[in-house]
């Protein structure tokens, strides 16, 4: 680095510098004048250039939230920082600086063009979020590891790449390596990649490239599967039957029951009941969704219809207004004018009446529908809960039977143990329990209690969650559909009517002034 101005003091990005830059680069001529009078908000600025200013540290840019283009080239910046607020950036120029480590770009997900030409970067890293990158310039840096370039494979949209004047460019295989492994590229080091060299490169790195592609595919498949699984789980959760399609509940029952485990025998029936709950839950969930969807469709339809009538009324009124205003402009007789204006005012009132009537009608209609919907949903939910409870009761019964059998069995075994007729197969843990009747009975009953508790918990969980969901939804509907919507519409209508009245008043005053 040979800088002519090494001796110059590093500058700091401060209010003054920013203001100056914004004003210089902002609107010109008349617009500039107006802007100056009014002042420019930093948050409205879309593009900013801060080059050749000897800036050492990126700072104080948090106000420029709308910024899409930022130029910070030809400074002495050493670290990328302070850009986390500029989430709308599309274009970032940091060339001719002293950056050594790639960092601090995580928030800039919309970035498409990134220039880091002539810096001191030695590794490509920490750019995982820049998935929209189209153009990347990393020329004249300290990159020396060709392997490191594989990092760039994650940028599927990357078309233009500049890596010239890096240490690894001296290696013979540099170009072919890049072309082979970054197959989406169109331009490399200022040149179009032609078909011939592309084929040659791919041929050369056939084996390792295939391997890489294979691995990537595997990873992708895995990811997809994971996403699918997560989606399924989400759906099950929404149906309140998550983890019920296997022996999960049963496993849970025994997980926290150390002693039970020693006695465990897997009852198939239990799992069957669980899967019944699972299926039922999914079916019910579908039903509920269908119901909700239908409700919203109807509500939207009603709203749309109402809106259309309203808009028509307004349209008609606007046409009438145009005519009346034209007429008014031509009438010179004061009396006539007054009469006209009062007629017009009457019409405004009529419009208000009409629109308000429409709104009231809609409110009535919606109220009724929402009531219907609430009742139906309540029915659905309660039937769901009942059914779930019935299934879980089956589970409890099973557990009870199981417990009884266990007790019977254990007593028999205990007797056997007393008589020393026991098989050798029984584990050491179990032997410890088979001391006397009380111990074993206690162990069994405690295990039974734990099981029961688990089932009860599950039931409570399901019931409370579904009730909460229903309550939340209904509240939302009341809040949004009934109250908020109504308020908005009423205020809208009033606002418009006020505006219309003001307009005619102003006109009248102006006309009145003429006389």
């Amino acid at each position: 680095m040979s800088r002519l101005y090494d001796t110059v003091e590093p500058a700091v990005i401060d209010e003054e510098m920013l203001k100056k830059a914004v004003e210089e680069q902002g609107p010109k001529e008349e617009a500039g004048k107006i802007a100056k009078q009014e002042g420019i908000d930093f948050k409205d600025v879309l593009s900013l250039r801060l080059d050749f200013l000897n800036v050492l540290k990126i700072d104080n840019l948090w106000e420029f939230t709308a910024l899409t283009k930022l130029q910070l080239d030809n400074n002495i910046i050493e670290k990328i920082e302070g850009l986390d607020e500029l989430v709308n950036l599309v274009w970032l120029d940091l060339s001719f600086n002293n950056i050594e480590v790639l960092d601090g770009l995580d928030a800039l997900t919309k970035l498409e063009d990134l220039t880091l030409y002539s810096n001191r970067i030695s590794t490509i890293e920490n750019m995982d979020n820049l998935l929209n990158l189209h153009v990347l310039s990393l020329g004249r840096n300290n990159l020396s590891e060709l392997e490191n370039l594989r990092y760039l494979r994650r940028f599927k949209k990357l078309k233009t790449l500049n890596l010239s004047d890096n240490p690894f460019c001296k290696q013979d295989e540099y170009k072919q390596y890049v072309i082979a492994f970054l197959s989406n590229l169109d331009f490399l080091d200022y040149r179009l990649i032609d078909q011939q060299s592309r084929e040659a490169a791919i041929e050369r790195y056939q084996v390792s490239r295939d391997e890489m592609l294979h691995n990537e595919k595997q990873a992708e498949l895995k990811k997809e599967e994971e996403i699918k699984r997560m989606k399924g789980l989400e759906l099950h959760k929404a149906a309140y039957v998550e983890m019920m399609d296997g022996p999960d509940l049963f496993d849970q029952m025994y997980r926290e029951d150390v002693e039970g485990q020693k006695l465990s025998e897997m009852p198939e029936k239990f799992v069957a009941v669980c899967s019944q709950i699972f299926d039922f839950g999914l079916v019910e969930h579908k039903k509920r969704e269908e119901e909700v969807k239908q409700f919203w469709e109807c509500v939207e339809e009603a709203k749309q219809e109402n809106k259309e009538i309203g808009m028509k009324a307004i349209d008609n009124f606007t046409n009438m207004k145009k005519k009346v205003l034209q007429e008014l402009a031509q009438i010179s007789d004061q009396k006539m004018l007054e009469q006209r204006v009062s007629e017009y005012n009457k019409q405004i009132t009529e419009l208000w009446d009409h629109l308000m009537g429409l709104e009231l009608q809609l409110v009535d209609q919606l109220e009724e529908v929402i009531k219907d919907f609430e009742r139906n949903m309540q029915d659905l939910v309660s039937s769901f809960i009942e059914n779930i409870q019935a299934y879980l009761t089956q589970c409890r019964d099973l557990e009870n039977i199981h417990h009884e059998k266990m007790t019977e069995n254990s007593i028999v075994i205990l007797e056997k143990a007393m008589k020393n007729e026991l098989d050798d197969e029984i584990s050491e843990d179990l032997r410890l329990l088979l001391v006397d009747k009380d111990t074993i009975i206690n162990a069994l009953s405690s295990s039974h209690d734990v099981h029961m508790l688990k089932i009860d918990n599950k039931e409570d969980d399901i019931v409370t969650r579904i009730n909460n969901w229903l309550k939340g939804m209904m509240e939302n509907i009341h809040q949004d559909e009934e109250i908020a919507r109504n308020r908005m519409r009423v205020s809208e209508v009033n606002n418009m009517i006020d505006h219309l009245r003001d307009e005619i008043d102003n006109l009248e005053m102006m006309q009145g002034g003429n006389y």
């Binding site: 809106k307 808009m311 307004i314 209609q365 205020s491």
Partner: protein
């Protein structure tokens, strides 16, 4: 009066008119019989006399056998099958005669059947053999509609004479095609030949029809081109009843009043309906044809197509004169005598007193259709399979059966030559390529393609009255026009002209409607465009002297509507400006409407933009946000110096007014407002220039149209080898080249050694001596031939000169006694002879010159010939 009455029976001589003439005839008879009466008077009693007198009243006039002079044909152009009958044909004729006799015997009151008319060579031919199933190579003739239309177009009608008698002669379809005219039987036979050739189950029907049908009088029918296509009403989508549909607001109107209103309306409608019906009836009554004295006697022939083959779903008739189909219970046809195809002949045994309604066309049913030949291919009444089983079981019987089948007489092949139709004739369609048809209040003229210079193929004129004098509308159809014009409708009443174009024109014009009185620019017109092909997506442009409206689709800037209002042109004094664009109408107002752009917020997305040019005002209405019903508006006053070039535009807050639907939304900054204003000014400029461009385009289109209309060139396809001169030339050239190539090849292939090799027995390999002698021989031969040729030329030369000398001598001797003519003859002879001698002389010289070369050439060739090469 007398004369008329006299003539009629002579002409008709048939029963229906007998009674009318009775009295008159009786009077006549009495007058004539006066002398004879006394001779026999004693033998007769009073009664007998009375009877005689009574009988004398009845008189029949034998039909004056004075047939219309039949058209004579040049017999030489027909093939022998036309002029003679095969033994089998004779057999069939006898069979038919026998059949006829039996029919007459059994059903005395039946009209004669159409069985054995003579053909154009005067030979009796059985009608079935006159049908010649032929499939022509034109795809238009593959379907019955096309074939029937072709026959109707291609031929001219010769009505039957008299109209209640079967024709004596049935001309073969080949001759009919050549003459391009024929009667209904010839029409039907030709059409049937085509249809059977195309695979239809078609029959010629001989029977009776109404006068209009027989004379192809369509002046009471509505032109098929004018029949409105039944509009398929899109079924209104019923609103789905959903669970949570909102209830409609309560109807607060009085139910009773509504009912009364509906009642009144219904009454009124009924009255209207009644009136209309009466009117219709009145008109129908007026237009009814006058009663026909020969109703039910007029003989006609048409075509019956039975269902089954070629996916024909049900039986129908084809009227050969018009080419239209009729249902089998059409009121136009009054009765059927017989039907036939190329295989068999059936006589109708059903009652036709109520026309053809309800007749059965099950030709296999011998109770309703009497067949002539037993090899009925309609085994519809077959005894069930039981018989088959028996047949299978008894081989001997089967053999017998087969023999018996052999014994049946089957139809001999048609005597008619295969039908031929040249492409040119086919394309000419009508005789001379033109045909005019009259319909009810309409006239249709048809023209062959490429016949008219402007590409006109048909022209339909619609009139107000039946006399076809008050023109309402003409519709002209064009084909192959270079300017892609397909149809022009001229509405005489409103003075409108509608022109339709095919895609492919520059500027993509699709339809153009204008006033014929004002075809120039800036007048009322509507233009439709093929918007898919236009960059600007223009669909429609409507113009009037003061307004212009344009509609667009699928534009990137969401513009879909543009409306311009013009003011009056200010009168300019001074020199007239040359370009009309400079002196355009002043624009008062421009309106642009946009669709919603979902990428923008509704309050930023302009829905309507109005430039009030005259008031220097710009109004914007924005789109409506989804949950809202009102939309924001904005209004700018243009800065005073807006149209100065390069001036700095000032802006102040009173130049701008706005209404925002959402009062809580922050107001825009002045800078932004100013920028919007700049943008609007630019948009206005662009809009204005677009409008000027549109006007320019209209002018250009109109100019083009005028040019095209005067040129009216026809487009000839490159595949049309007949008409495309260039392609023809090219093909000829190719053919010529090919021929030359062939000749050259042939020349190359002549083996000069072959005869000599043959002489020594075509040895596999030549010995040296043989080779030498071969070469020598070959050369010798050539030499001989060259010398021979020279000798021949010389001989001829000498002969000619000798003849000339003799002639000269003869001339000198007789010079004195010769007339002028002889002298002239002599002079021409001399001239010719000298010319010939001269030519021979030249030829000899040339031969002498070329002979050594030829010799050398052959030697060279022999040297290099691979068979001899090894020795030299």
């Amino acid at each position: 009066m007398e004369n008329e009455e006299e003539n009629k029976p002579a002409e008709n001589g048939e029963e229906p008119l007998k009674e009318e003439n009775e009295e008159e005839a009786a009077q006549k008879e009495e007058g004539e019989g006066d002398e004879e009466e006394p001779a026999n008077i004693e033998d007769l009693t009073e009664d007998a006399l009375a009877l005689k007198a009574e009988l004398a009243k009845i008189v029949v006039h034998p039909p004056a056998s004075e047939p219309a002079p039949m058209e004579e044909f040049d017999q030489s152009e027909f093939s022998p099958s036309y002029k003679d009958n095969l033994p089998k044909e004779n057999l069939v004729l006898q069979y038919a005669e026998n059949f006829r006799r039996q029919m007459v015997q059994l059903y005395r009151d039946r009209k004669p059947l159409f069985l054995n008319p003579i053909n154009e060579c005067g030979i009796e031919k059985f009608v079935c053999t006159t049908i010649r199933p032929t499939q022509l190579e034109y795809k238009e003739l593959y379907n019955w509609e096309g074939a029937a239309e072709f026959v109707a177009d291609y031929l001219n009608i010769e009505p039957l004479k008299p109209e209640y008698e079967l024709p004596k002669r049935l001309i073969s379809p080949t001759t009919v095609l050549k003459r391009q005219k024929g009667n209904c039987f010839e029409y039907s036979t030709l059409l049937c030949s085509l249809l059977i050739g195309a695979g239809y189950d078609a029959y010629v029907v001989s029977g009776y029809a109404t006068k209009e049908t027989c004379l192809a009088d369509e002046s009471r029918d509505i032109c098929p081109l004018l029949k409105k296509k039944e509009e398929i009403k899109a079924e209104e989508k019923k609103k789905e009843i959903k669970k949570y549909n909102v209830k409609p607001p309560r109807d607060l109107r009085s139910k009773f009043e509504l009912k009364q209103e509906a009642k009144r309306k219904a009454e009124k409608e009924a009255e209207e309906e009644k009136r209309r019906k009466e009117e219709e009836e009145r008109i129908a009554e007026l237009e009814k044809p006058p009663p026909d004295p020969y109703y039910g006697l007029r003989i006609h022939a048409w075509v019956l197509v039975l269902s089954g083959k070629r996916e024909v779903p049900e039986n129908f008739f084809i009227e050969p004169f018009t080419g239209l189909s009729h249902s089998v219970d059409s009121a136009n046809y009054l009765g059927i005598e017989s039907v036939w195809n190329n295989i068999n002949y059936w006589v109708n045994m059903q009652d036709c007193s109520e026309g053809v309604k309800g007749l059965s066309y099950d030709l296999g049913d011998c109770t309703v259709w009497e067949y002539m030949f037993p090899n009925n291919d309609k085994p519809l009444l077959r005894i069930p399979e039981a018989e088959d089983d028996i047949l299978d079981g008894l081989d001997d019987d089967e053999d017998n059966e087969e023999n018996e089948v052999e014994k049946y007489l089957d139809m001999p092949p048609s005597w008619v030559d295969a039908l031929k139709l040249s492409l040119r004739d086919f394309q000419m369609r009508c005789p001379q390529g033109k045909k005019t048809k009259l319909y009810k209040r309409a006239k249709l003229e048809k023209f062959a393609h490429y016949l008219m210079k402007d590409g006109l193929v048909s022209k339909l004129s619609v009139f107000e009255n039946k006399e076809l004098t008050d023109l309402i509308m003409t519709r002209e159809y064009f084909a192959h026009r270079l300017d892609k014009l397909t149809q022009r409708v001229t509405d005489q009443r409103k003075g409108l002209v509608i022109e339709n174009f095919e895609p492919g024109r520059p500027r993509c014009l699709k339809e153009h409607t204008y006033r014929s009185s004002a075809p120039g620019p800036e007048n009322d017109r509507t233009m439709l465009f093929y918007h898919e092909a236009r960059v600007d997506g223009l669909v429609k442009r409507v113009e009037s002297p003061t307004e212009m409206t344009e509609e667009y689709v699928n534009r990137d800037d969401f513009l879909y509507y543009k409306h311009v209002e013009y003011g009056k042109r200010t009168k300019k004094f001074g020199p007239q400006e040359s370009s009309p664009a400079k002196n355009s109408r002043p624009i008062l107002k421009m309106v642009q409407k946009f669709h919603r752009n979902r990428n923008k917020a509704a309050n930023e997305d302009i829905a309507e933009l109005v430039f009030h040019m005259s008031e220097d005002k710009i109004q914007i209405s924005y789109h409506t946000e989804d949950p809202r019903i009102a939309s924001s508006t904005r209004e700018y006053l243009k800065p005073a110096n807006w149209d100065e070039k390069g001036a700095i535009l000032t802006f102040s807050s009173d130049m701008h007014q706005t209404f925002q639907v959402d009062p809580t939304e922050p107001h825009k900054k002045q800078v932004e407002l100013y920028q919007v204003l700049l943008m609007l000014l630019k948009a206005e400029e662009k809009c204005r220039s677009d409008v000027l461009d549109s006007e320019q385009e209209v002018r250009a289109i109109l100019d083009d149209r005028v040019k095209e209309e005067t040129a009216s060139d026809l487009d000839i396809s490159v595949y049309d080898t007949e008409r495309n001169e260039k392609a023809k030339k090219h093909r000829r050239e190719l053919e010529r080249q090919q021929l030359e190539e062939k000749m050259r090849k042939q020349e190359m292939d002549i083996d000069y050694l072959a005869p000599f090799l043959a002489k020594i027995g075509n040895p596999e390999k030549l010995a040296k001596a043989q080779a030498f002698s071969l070469k020598e021989e070959c050369l010798q031969d050539l030499k001989q031939r060259l010398i021979d040729k020279a000798n021949l030329i010389q001989a001829r030369f000498e002969k000619e000169s000798q003849a000339l000398e003799e002639k000269q001598l003869w001339y000198q001797k007789n010079q004195v006694s010769m007339g002028k003519e002889d002298e002239e003859q002599y002079l021409t002879y001399c001239k010719d002879a000298i010319f010939r001698i001269h030519i021979l002389d030249q030829r000899l010289a040339r031969h002498k010159e070329q002979a050594p070369h030829k010799y050398m050439q052959l030697e060279q060739k022999l040297r290099s010939d691979e068979r001899l090469a090894e020795f030299f």
